[in-house]
């Protein structure tokens, strides 16, 4: 066999028919596309454009419908403030959904951690930074438990987090005795817990530290997901776990880490939530897990894993906030806000399915 790499390779008889055929098989050519195809390709390459367009459109429409009040810098910063906690939870949720999982326990673990922080700092008199640190560790442990059950016990994420949602909620009621820690008590013993409720004014806008924190968390996660090997592995695991494993990624380790980081982000959200609510309330954020999933889905991250940008859920959370604020200022009944968000979610998933069908 000396003809390696040579031009005179012997083909096989039946391949003679190929001689006059188009030889550009392995070329990565582009052919004629309709405008719809081009749009589909564009959205496939830029999955965040849909929510961004929806956000800009909804701001424009509500600005027109609800008038000057809506457009004021104060109102727009208020929207950010209102969605900050759901936004932070959506960031945690995005990580898990990118791995083709789902985390129903984000809200419950956040409230549990806020109760732990409050109990330690206010009731037991521990220094606030220590209480917050312990809270962060508890959040990571809660996430690690989810990750362990998903990877080692090999249970579906939906079932695991449905279970831990209830477990965390029960622990939260047990630790708190179903009672809130009042705002005055926090002010007296551990004002640091409410730090994220403070705000800075820029012109007419009022940004709480909590809403700045939300943007920061998304910025950090964007960097991690797009500029580090770990981030690429998160996408690869969500896309095709077996392929990722064969490519040399320790997929189970990546998964446990994803759940642990999601737990940590929830714990950071717990600190911010004390500032947002002004007290430690065990009964708050009961629907936060579902709202975070809504923000992620509207933000264009695929529930089937591996697709979408982390910027999407931030935009998704803002869309929900803009709809709620705009409809309220336009004097529309609250039930239509819920109605609109419902349709938005369904349309977002339908769009995702369409974009995934892209072909070369």
């Amino acid at each position: 066999m000396s003809e390696a790499g040579g031009a005179a390779r012997r083909g096989q008889e039946f391949e003679d028919g190929l001689e006059k055929s188009d030889a550009s098989v392995a070329a990565f050519e582009s052919h004629e596309k309709t405008i719809l195809d081009r749009l589909q390709h564009f959205l496939h390459g830029n999955p965040t454009m849909v929510p961004v367009i929806v956000l800009l459109l909804s701001i424009a429409v509500f600005g027109f419908v609800a008038g000057g009040n809506f457009f004021s810098a104060f109102n727009l910063s208020l929207v950010m403030q209102q969605v900050s906690i759901i936004g932070i939870l959506a960031a945690a949720q995005s990580l898990v959904i990118l791995t083709a999982g789902i985390d129903l326990s984000v809200g419950a673990s956040m409230v549990l951690v806020s109760v732990i922080m409050g109990n330690l700092a206010v009731k037991m008199g521990l220094p606030a930074p220590l209480a917050i640190g312990v809270g962060f560790i508890c959040g990571m442990l809660a996430g690690t438990l989810n990750g362990f059950l998903v990877t080692r016990v090999k249970l579906p994420p939906f079932i695991v987090t449905l279970g831990t949602w209830n477990i965390f909620f029960a622990l939260n009621l047990w630790l708190s005795g179903a009672q809130s820690i009042r705002s005055q008590d926090i002010d007296a013993t551990a004002p640091l817990l409410k730090w994220f409720g403070e705000s800075i004014r820029i012109g007419g806008a009022q940004f709480t530290y909590g809403s700045i924190l939300m943007v920061l968390i998304f910025a950090v996660l964007w960097y991690v997901l797009n500029r580090t090997a770990w981030g690429r592995h998160v996408y690869a695991v969500g896309d095709d776990k077996e392929a990722a494993e064969l490519s040399g990624i320790r997929t189970n380790r990546t998964l446990v880490q994803v759940y642990a980081v999601a737990g940590l982000v929830c714990a950071i959200g717990a600190w911010a939530s004390i500032g947002r609510v002004g007290s430690v309330s065990p009964q708050s954020f009961q629907e936060a897990n579902l709202q975070s999933i809504t923000a992620v889905v509207i933000g264009g991250i695929s529930l089937f894993g591996g697709r979408g940008s982390i910027v999407g859920p931030l935009v998704g959370a803002l869309i929900v906030g803009v709809f709620n604020s705009g409809l309220r200022l336009a004097g529309v009944d609250v039930l239509w806000q819920v109605f609109a968000i419902g349709w938005l979610t369904i349309i977002a998933v339908a769009l995702d399915q369409w974009i995934r069908k892209v072909s070369a």
Partner: protein, 260 residues
């Protein structure tokens, strides 16, 4: 073939319960050759390949790479030792780009502060190298190295998987049924690719059911039967019907092939 083999196996045994998948089998791969492994369904060729690529651990026997005994506990370890495998499923991540896929699991980090403390990826370097590797194999009609793999055709994906193995495999490349899912034209392209890789001195183990493809590219053919190496034949001396007859037990292989 007077040189020492680069990869050898002696007396490999693997049981799955009461099924003997490998029964004292041997294996030899010489530098710079394409060795085809053929065998009937259930002959144990997948098990043999898995043992060599680190996906399973044989119960008995010894594998030597460059004369040194090796014990792979995972495909990752085999990869680190220089054995790359192109799986039948290709093991590509569809939503990631061509460059991301080529470097999956062995990304390049930036040097200096950003890489050290923020573990930042060196995208430019990875894209540059990916582009080089693809053009080495004549695949560089790709317009956009950042294109998602799922937008490529079957042959193009196979090309990316082969380029990945060729780029990183330092000693041996194993290809499992590389043409099984492809059409006539794309198969041709992949066969050319295999020969391109061989012409650069890289030994290749080719597992295939496609006799015409095997006889076209292989230097030697390892016939696997009933869990062991039955014989090794030179495709120039035997016909496809001979090979099939040996493989299925319809015909006894000649004595000199048994000794090979």
């Amino acid at each position: 073939m007077s040189t020492e083999p680069i990869l050898t196996a002696r007396g490999l045994v693997k049981h799955y319960g009461r099924v003997v998948a490998l029964n004292q089998t041997d294996f030899d791969l010489y530098p710079g050759e394409i060795l085809a492994v053929i065998g009937d369904n259930g002959a144990g060729k997948s098990t043999l390949i898995k043992a060599i690529s680190g996906a399973i651990h044989p119960d008995e026997g010894e594998i030597r790479l460059d004369g040194e005994p090796v014990h792979f506990r995972s495909p990752l370890e085999a990869r680190e030792a220089g054995i790359e495998t192109v799986y039948q499923t290709l093991a590509l991540s569809p939503a990631l780009s061509i460059a991301d896929n080529m470097f999956l699991g062995r990304e390049i980090r930036k040097s200096g502060f950003m890489g050290r403390w923020f573990r930042s990826l060196d995208r430019e370097a990875m894209e540059r190298i990916a582009r080089e590797k693809l053009s080495d194999l004549g695949l560089m009609t790709i317009q956009n190295i950042g294109q998602a793999v799922e937008t490529l055709s079957g042959g193009q994906r196979q090309g990316v998987a082969v380029a990945r193995a060729a780029a990183f495999g330092s000693k041996v490349i194993i290809m499992d049924e590389p043409t099984a899912a492809l059409g006539v034209k794309e198969s041709r392209r992949v066969l050319d690719l295999i020969q391109d890789v061989r012409s650069r001195g890289m030994p290749i183990v080719l597992i295939s059911h496609n006799m015409p493809h095997v006889f076209e590219v292989a230097d030697r053919i390892h016939v696997h039967r009933l869990g062991r190496r039955l014989c090794v034949i030179d495709p120039k001396d035997y016909t496809m019907s001979d090979a099939v007859a040996f493989m299925t037990g319809a015909k006894e292989p000649p004595a000199e092939a048994l000794a090979a």
